[in-house]
């Protein structure tokens, strides 16, 4: 594999976007602002091409000789504390790991990232901070590629916090809006709470394994070293002292805290809906398609640490399922297009967590990939709507937009159908795999996911029928004040910022410029077809299963004997698939496909009835169930609870401590000896109290005297 061009020159994949970001950020200022998208297009574009060639190159290597695929590449030692090469030394390199999981993730990040940057050039046209925006995007792609390519936990952490930084900067892109500013801060801090767990997990990993590399090659080049390989090695694990064997059990719980933060799972999901304050391409790229899936990637990557730990796996699956249904229920009663999709993203991420939690990480990653296409498509389409509606996103104020936005209407319909799980589209296949795997573990999980799927179909098409079908209604005038995207103004009045309230005539402008529609079309094709890479022949799954991180759970999902596949002794070995189990699983899949098709179509049908044919009935229903509606619209008041139960008391406590600091500690320290003592000195050394300069000078003289004494004698 090391012969592949993309592997040999893998540093280009992250570095080109970084270089592009530097060019856009530092050089494309002032009058060159309009050119800022070019370096990013080129940098991310080449990066995307390299990623795709990497994927195909690896696939052809795999095709030639089946077997585990992984290759580690070290660039330089990053942090070394202690003598190098000695056990117990903390020594971590900037290095890349290439396996199918990395390759697939890279393609998702760079390819979808590229199309979003194309879209963004149209969407952000005329913005004051155009160059800044593109510089952040480039930096984001850099950090995200580092995240998925890194070959050790600290590289993962680097990318992890790095994308957090970019997310912070991009959510706060309209930094003069208090809402954006607060959302940015919240996103970073909530993520930091998760990263606390992540960091402790890394340290525990180091304490237990003495290394934080995922896999490191031995002399023969086999990846037998490294924490993830050792975790799957029974001889190693059993040779550990008891406290370390105990500690191993805790590592997944610590790491998953990080994953819950980054991937917006309960209880750390609260930052993601607020993150919609960022420009829509950011919501599409970072807060739907790529960054938020990093948690899923992490758990898939650390498969060998997680799979044997049933408590951890159940925790993940249960949290995922709960988040899925919880967020979907909130999405039922949201009116802001982007908010609906934000809660939908949280919910879909919950599906992916269930996937990795029920030993079907391949399904989880598959859903991650399809979701990246259709959710990016949905967000960007709602960006087009927002662009055309002058910043309005409230679905109560618009209807029948298919007349105004004919192309967008079809694009968003494809996205909605894929999200709703309409048979034949990508979301259907990937969601179905997760539901089946969940059902296989526990019918309760499966049922929860099916109910969530029903709600998903309903709220997705509620949005579609409300906004695009029915009689034409458009909001008058631009959105008030600083509401979403009112800055966007395709006439070059960017300098006016959000206060641009000049008369805008709907008819005069093309609301669907090609630069925005073309990338959407590509994403739409992806949303339709992406499912077929893993249908029937399971190419994607078989390929991903060659990742050393995934091989164990891949075998389980294929129907291998659970015990045999998870037996660490069999790690990396060929395990026979149980024919009966395989057959059962296959049947289960078919059944689930039928059930979930019905569920999705009923959901769509209900939405069509309530929001297209009989809108009045839906309004009546809301009135009748006022209480429930209010709870959902209030988002269960989780934000308020956090504010009241954690943030405010903590701040009060800080104020209390500050008072304590000034009155008590300071007073005590003064009284406890410093003052009397020093006063004594002062009195002795100077005749007059209070002449401190005199005192200091005396002191100084004393020192000089001492120096002179030293020098002279």
């Amino acid at each position: 594999m090391e012969q592949l061009f993309a592997v040999k020159h893998s540093y280009l994949i992250p570095l080109l976007p970084l270089l592009a970001a530097a060019i856009a950020g530092f050089l494309c200022t002032g009058s060159r602002k309009k050119l800022a998208h070019w370096p990013i297009w080129i940098g991310v574009g080449i990066s995307a091409i390299l990623s795709v060639t990497l994927l195909f190159g690896m696939a052809s290597v795999w095709h030639d000789h089946h077997g585990p695929l992984a290759y580690v590449q070290n660039w330089y030692q990053w942090i070394t504390a202690g003598p190098a090469g000695v056990s117990g030394t903390f020594d971590v390199a900037v290095g890349f790991l290439f396996d199918p999981l990395t390759a697939v993730m890279l393609c998702v990040v760079t390819v979808i990232g590229f199309f979003i940057t194309v879209f963004a050039a149209g969407y952000m046209k005329g913005e004051e901070g155009y160059f800044r925006f593109f510089a952040y995007l480039g930096m984001f792609i850099f950090m995200m590629t580092m995240l998925v390519m890194g070959d050790n936990f600290l590289m993962l952490y680097l990318g992890w916090e790095g994308v957090g930084l970019c997310s912070y900067l991009l959510i706060g892109y309209y930094y003069d809006r208090p809402a954006a500013r607060d959302a940015a801060k919240k996103a970073f801090i909530v993520n930091r709470i998760g990263d606390f767990g992540f960091g402790v997990g890394i340290m525990l990993t180091f304490a237990v394994f003495g290394t934080i590399n995922y896999f490191s090659p031995d002399e023969a080049g086999n990846l037998t070293g490294g924490a993830l390989a050792l975790a799957a090695d029974p001889n190693f694990v059993l040779s550990l002292p008891e406290w370390k064997q105990h500690a191993i059990q805790w590592i997944p719980f610590m790491l998953m805290l990080g994953a819950f933060g980054k991937s917006a799972q309960f209880p750390l999901y609260v930052w993601l809906p607020d993150a919609m304050e960022g420009p829509t391409p950011v919501s599409a790229l970072i807060h739907a398609a790529t960054m938020v899936t990093a948690g899923v990637y992490m758990i898939a990557r650390c498969g060998t640490l997680f799979v044997g730990n049933e408590a951890a796996m159940w925790t993940i699956a249960i949290i995922g399922a709960f988040t899925a249904i919880f967020a979907a229920s909130i999405a039922l009663r949201q009116f802001d297009l982007k908010k609906v999709f934000a809660y939908s993203t949280i919910s879909q991420l919950g599906f992916m967590f269930v996937g990795v939690g029920v030993l079907a990480p391949v399904a989880g990653v598959f859903h991650l990939m399809t979701h990246a296409f259709f959710k990016a498509l949905l967000f960007l389409s709602s960006g087009v709507v927002m662009h055309a509606m002058l910043g309005h996103l409230d679905m109560r104020r618009m209807s029948g937009l298919k007349a105004v936005l004919p192309k967008t209407r079809w694009l968003i319909l494809i996205g909605c159908a894929a999200l709703a799980g309409v048979p034949g589209l990508s979301g259907f296949f990937s969601k179905d795999e997760i539901v089946a795997a969940a059902w296989h573990q526990s019918w309760v999980l499966g049922l929860v996911l099916l109910i969530t799927a029903f709600m998903t179909a309903y709220y997705t098409f509620r949005l579609y029928f409300r906004v695009f079908e029915g009689p034409l209604v458009q909001p008058d005038g631009p959105a008030e004040g600083h509401s979403h995207g009112s800055e966007h103004d395709d006439h070059g009045h960017g300098a006016h910022g959000g206060h641009d309230t000049h008369g805008h005539d709907h008819g005069h402008h093309n609301h669907e410029p090609m630069i925005m529609i073309l990338p959407l079309a590509v994403l739409a094709i992806g949303a339709i077809l992406a499912g077929y890479v893993n249908v029937g022949t399971h190419h994607l799954g078989d390929f991903l299963g060659q990742s050393p991180s995934l091989s164990q759970s891949y075998l389980v999902a294929k129907g291998a004997d659970y015990e045999a596949a998870l037996n660490p002794a069999m790690f990396g070995q060929h395990v026979d698939v149980h024919p009966k189990l395989e057959e059962d699983l296959h049947l289960l899949h078919i059944r689930m496909m039928i059930i979930s098709s019905v569920v999705a179509l009923v959901g769509v049908g209900l939405a069509m009835y309530l929001h297209l044919f009989n809108r009045r009935l839906s309004d009546d229903l809301v009135l009748r169930f006022r209480g429930i509606a209010r709870v959902l619209e209030g988002k269960y008041w989780v934000d308020e609870i956090y504010q009241g139960a954690i943030v405010n008391p903590l701040r009060k406590f800080g104020q209390l401590l500050y008072g304590f600091d000034r009155l008590v500690i300071d007073g005590l320290v003064w009284v406890a000896g410093f003052v009397p003592q020093s006063a004594g000195f002062v009195l002795k050394l100077t005749t007059q109290r209070g002449q401190l300069q005199g005192y200091a000078l005396t002191m100084m003289l004393g020192i000089v005297l001492l120096l002179v004494l030293v020098f002279v004698f």
């Binding site: 070394t80 504390a81 790095g162 800080g654 320290v669 410093f674 401190l692 300069q693 020098f711």
Partner: protein, 525 residues
């Protein structure tokens, strides 16, 4: 160059003396800048002469015959290992920047000001280069004098009280240190002649002295150093001094002066106290003080109205990490701790510079009066955010490396353990809380004109963005912050040997399996 270290000290000292005699308004600052740059150049020479492959050995030793006092065991001996070298490098790096930052903001009594600054540089370099404990102590105390005047004359509204408090606190505490120094010096020599050579001191402490004596000497040294660091609960001089000092004073105070305390702890207190009876018994307690400092400093920083005070309290939190790593007494923790000294000097120094630039323009540091500066000052905002994230410990920037290593050191240390690591890690959440709180209020949000700013300068126009001089001050710091985050091994590798030499020998490490329970210390329990 013969006697490089002598030159290193002589140049700022002579510069201070000459500078004090200069005439004119502009000459002193140019002179000071020139001298500080020349000092930096000498450091580069020293770096070339220093053999980094033997970084654990004391090199470039000079001990002029003329300045020896054999009867008293005192000598003017200078020498550096890589720990000293990097702290010297930090000092000479920050000094020209601090001087350049004072360019406009120090308008009165410039001659004196720059003379004090150069004298301060002399004293700080002396602390790091001294190989004689008494000499170290003399330099250590000498730093107080220039800083006292810098705060007391050029400081803010409460400058006199702040200077007094700063002086009395640190001076009074270091009297104990002096007692310890003299005691250990008399025991270290042969016969009746004392010796203050660092090697003799440490040898004597580790072989000749009774446990009880070491215990008390350790505590005596700790008294002076802990106040300087400052450790909770003797930190209360710091917020006031930092807030009232002029910008350059705060930069040097946070950047270098606090490190005199940690350096003293590392160089003298820890070797003297090494072993289960002294450090083994005290590290759990001192570790708890560090943890309290981390959490307490962060929470108090969060509620500050004055952004300079916010950063000052953040130092209490940061230095808690630094000392915690040191107390881990393992390679990871101590190397991390030394990195922490350097990184904290860079990022907090930089933060004070940026805040100073804001203050120069708006004449306020009130978090309620400042808002949305990014709109008015995008370049300043860039640096502000960069240094904020360096301070928060974003991987890829310098702060992360040291923060991670110190926590990891505590986490894996047999003296401290997982609990200490976990609590310290909570500090990284709070670090983000208070720093981003400040960034959100000051840099982001709607642009706000501070009250009372109307009619200032030429009426309505708001002050502009930072200019070329200010960019030139911040850019080297920004570069250092990035470089030390990307390739920290440049420094870390060279710290391996001297740290290994500092760590108590094997027999002393093995002692604790589980909680350190040591009895028979003779503390009169």
């Amino acid at each position: 160059m013969e006697g490089t270290l002598i030159w290193l000290l002589l140049i700022p000292l002579a510069g201070a003396v000459v500078g004090a005699c200069l005439q004119g308004e502009r000459a002193p600052r140019w002179w000071a800048l020139l001298v500080s740059l020349a000092t930096a150049a000498v450091t580069v020479v020293a770096a070339c002469e220093f053999d980094f492959s033997a970084s654990g050995q004391v090199q470039l030793l000079v001990s002029p015959e003329a300045f020896r006092l054999p009867e008293a065991g005192i000598s003017f001996t200078l020498g550096i290992d890589s720990i000293s070298f990097w702290l010297i490098a930090l000092t000479v790096f920050l000094m020209p920047l601090a001087i350049a930052a004072s360019w406009e903001s120090i308008a009165s009594r410039r001659k004196e000001y720059y003379a004090w600054m150069l004298l301060l540089e002399f004293a700080m370099l002396g602390v790091f280069a001294a190989r004689d404990l008494l000499l170290f102590y003399v330099f250590f105390e000498l730093t107080l004098v220039p800083m006292f005047f810098i705060i007391g004359i050029w400081g803010g509204a409460e400058r006199q009280y702040a200077a007094l408090k700063f002086f009395l606190f640190t001076f009074a505490a270091s009297v104990f240190t002096l007692a310890g120094v003299i005691y250990i010096g008399t025991t270290a020599g042969q016969g009746a002649v004392p010796s203050f050579r660092i090697e003799d001191i440490i040898n004597s402490a580790q072989s000749g002295m009774s446990t009880q004596a070491r215990y008390w000497v350790f505590l005596a040294m700790l008294a002076g150093f802990a106040v300087k660091v400052p450790l909770f609960p003797v930190h209360t001089w710091l917020p006031l001094a930092h807030t009232e000092a002029p910008t350059a004073g705060s930069v040097i105070l946070a950047g270098v002066l606090l490190k005199l305390g940690t350096y003293g702890l590392l160089r003298f207190a820890i070797p003297v106290g090494a072993g289960p009876e002294v450090l083994g018994a005290l590290t759990p307690l001192l570790g708890v003080l560090c943890l309290i400092g981390i959490i307490y400093g962060a929470l108090v920083a969060w509620v500050q109205q004055d952004i300079k005070k916010l950063v000052a309290y953040s130092s209490v939190s940061h230095l808690g990490f630094c000392v915690l790593g040191m107390l881990a007494l393992n390679q990871t923790g101590i190397q991390g701790s030394i990195m922490y000294m350097i990184n904290h000097g860079l990022s907090t120094g930089a933060m004070f510079l940026v805040i100073g630039m804001i203050y120069d323009r708006y004449h306020t540091r009130d978090i309620n009066q400042l808002s949305g500066l990014a709109k008015q000052m995008p370049r300043l905002a860039f640096f502000f955010i960069l240094f904020t994230f360096s301070s928060i410990g974003l991987p890829g920037l310098n702060g992360f490396v040291s923060e991670f290593l110190t926590i990891l050191g505590a986490f894996t240390s047999p003296h401290l353990g997982i609990g200490y690591g976990v609590v310290a890690a909570l500090g990284i959440i709070l670090g983000a809380v208070y720093m981003l709180h400040m960034a959100a209020r000051v840099i982001f949000g709607p642009l706000k004109v501070p009250q009372g700013h109307h009619g200032h300068d030429d009426g309505h126009s708001l002050p502009g963005d930072i200019g070329a001089r200010e960019i030139a001050v911040l850019t080297p710091l920004a570069a250092a912050v990035v470089i030390l985050g990307v390739v920290p091994n440049v420094i870390l590798k060279t710290l391996e040997e001297p740290v290994a030499a500092l760590i108590p020998s094997e027999s002393q490490i093995v002692m604790v399996e589980g909680p350190a329970v040591v009895s028979g210390v003779g503390l009169g329990e």
